[in-house]
Symmetry: C2
Subunit: 304 residues, 2 copies
């Protein structure tokens, strides 16, 4: 049950020779969740061989061009590939005003329904095995931060306990492992009798564009991976305050206060051809920090 985070575009505002516009993809059990869709996203998906599975969802953090101008091309490509499965898009209020004219021009002749849900922050979207939690960030326009939170899994299975209770190895074990009760020789065996305590799922959080804010700290509580924007070095703190972006230091403070396990800095301003200084500044506060490059992927292992 792999969960991979693909950094499709790690730059911000304007592409640089090394960094494309914002997009993060999470691949999990055949699903592809795309967070932000800057220009060039479809090219990255194709180049990295991620494919366009029927179970694909798009989450837009905010309506600035650098985060959304890859959507028209993706919709066109999916139509050329004759997609029929509906595509679910989530975004802040106003996303409809961007999407509807696009679909109306005839330039994108979508061969599939595009289903839009606008969110304001605070909603929890339930997708069965996981949920997507949302929080309003602190930016010049409404920015939704997203958290993918897997629901707890059943606890560890103890075969010796099952044997003691007379449950034969085979399909009944699988049922117990999934958390279901089984009947053996007229007796009911409950999963609690053969399983350890439920194990937590994984949590990955993406800030979108935001200054440091408590709502993202809360959303990121205990995250296995926090992907936080760090547009500026701390030397440009005043600029970050004015533009409502984050410095590397603010991102690190959010990770530390949230008790996150790992911090990835993204939305790197094109002024930093070598963003090592941002990484160093952040590590002084939160050591487990890295700056991914476009195309990088990290797998988040299941907790024990």
């Amino acid at each position: 049950m792999d969960l991979e985070v693909w950094f499709l575009g790690t730059g911000g505002s304007i592409p640089s020779p090394g960094r494309g516009l914002p997009s993060i993809a999470i691949r999990r059990r055949g699903e592809l969740l795309i967070f932000d869709i800057g220009e060039g996203t479809q090219k990255q998906i194709i180049k990295l061989g991620l494919g366009f599975p029927s179970k694909m969802r798009i989450f837009i953090t905010h309506l600035h061009g650098d985060h959304i101008f890859g959507l028209p091309g993706l919709l066109q490509t999916l139509s050329m590939l004759h997609r029929e499965h509906p595509l679910q898009v989530y975004g802040p209020r106003g996303t409809r005003e961007f999407l509807d004219p696009l679909l109306a021009t005839g330039l994108v002749k979508a061969t599939f329904p595009v289903l839009l849900r606008e969110v304001v922050g605070g909603e929890v979207l339930d997708f069965g095995e996981y949920e997507i939690r949302t929080a309003l960030g602190k930016h010049s326009v409404a920015n939704i931060a997203y958290a993918l939170v897997e629901k707890p899994r059943p606890g560890k299975f103890y075969p010796e306990k099952a044997r003691e209770l007379g449950v034969p190895e085979g399909p009944l074990w699988s049922k117990l492992q999934r958390g279901e009760s089984v009947e053996v020789g007229g007796r009911v065996v409950h999963p609690q009798q053969v399983l350890g305590p439920p194990r937590r799922g994984r949590k990955v959080v993406y800030s979108g564009d935001t200054a440091k804010c408590s709502s993202v700290v809360e959303l990121a509580r205990g995250a296995d991976l926090l992907i936080h924007e760090a547009t500026f070095s701390k030397s440009l703190t005043e600029r970050a305050e004015r533009d409502l972006h984050s410095t590397s230091v603010w991102a690190a403070e959010v990770a530390k206060e949230a008790g996150a396990k790992l911090l990835a800095l993204v939305h790197i301003s094109p002024r930093y051809a070598d963003p090592k200084v941002l990484e160093q500044e952040a590590r002084e506060i939160f050591s487990n920090t890295f700056i991914p490059n476009d195309g990088d992927c990290i797998a988040i292992p299941l907790p024990d």
Copy 2:
């Protein structure tokens, strides 16, 4: 007086791992002319270090998404760079209906005037040292093919003739070389007395998306470089007929009939991971054919 042709995106319809969506840039004496602007064009311009000069013009061949979805992002980037110089855009009828809503949404807050001229094919646009000629292709929607044609330069300068006529080396020679008459000791010396016959300028032609058609043959007459779409191999001729695209063979026939000097095949379908077969098919008809890769540049020398 360099003239460079940069192949920014050489794929067609859908990006492939190796080829981005259509865009060709011509750099000439500090001007940048962009022909088609598929998604990813601005990233290529930045990556290749071409910059965004004040003298930049955009020519759109037709209103299919893969040829124009890079425009919103470019306009946004130019605005973030505080461009003030007007940007001239040329495209087929209907370009205004694409551009106006884009500028109206507020997503692109253009800091400069975007001046649009719609063309139908057959117009000649005069830019002083060169003109852009247009022709209507043969596609599923109106497609404008463009030819950059430099005006003739003054002929070769013969210093010995100037000396014989008593014109001293220096500023007067420069005037004669530019085609202006000069006065020496009460006598007028005309440029024709010291120059050879006018020398032709260079010609670069870009087809956009089109089946083989006589209007593009006419437009490409004697071109130094014809950039022609070759979406399909000749084995898919029926498909090309149906979709009004070209095969490699058709592109080569156009080059041959037009008496072009060099043929570049672009708009390569993503089905051809290795398009060597297209190149071979074309070379059987027109040997001076090549398939550029994304990022390739060729310089077109001045004719003698």
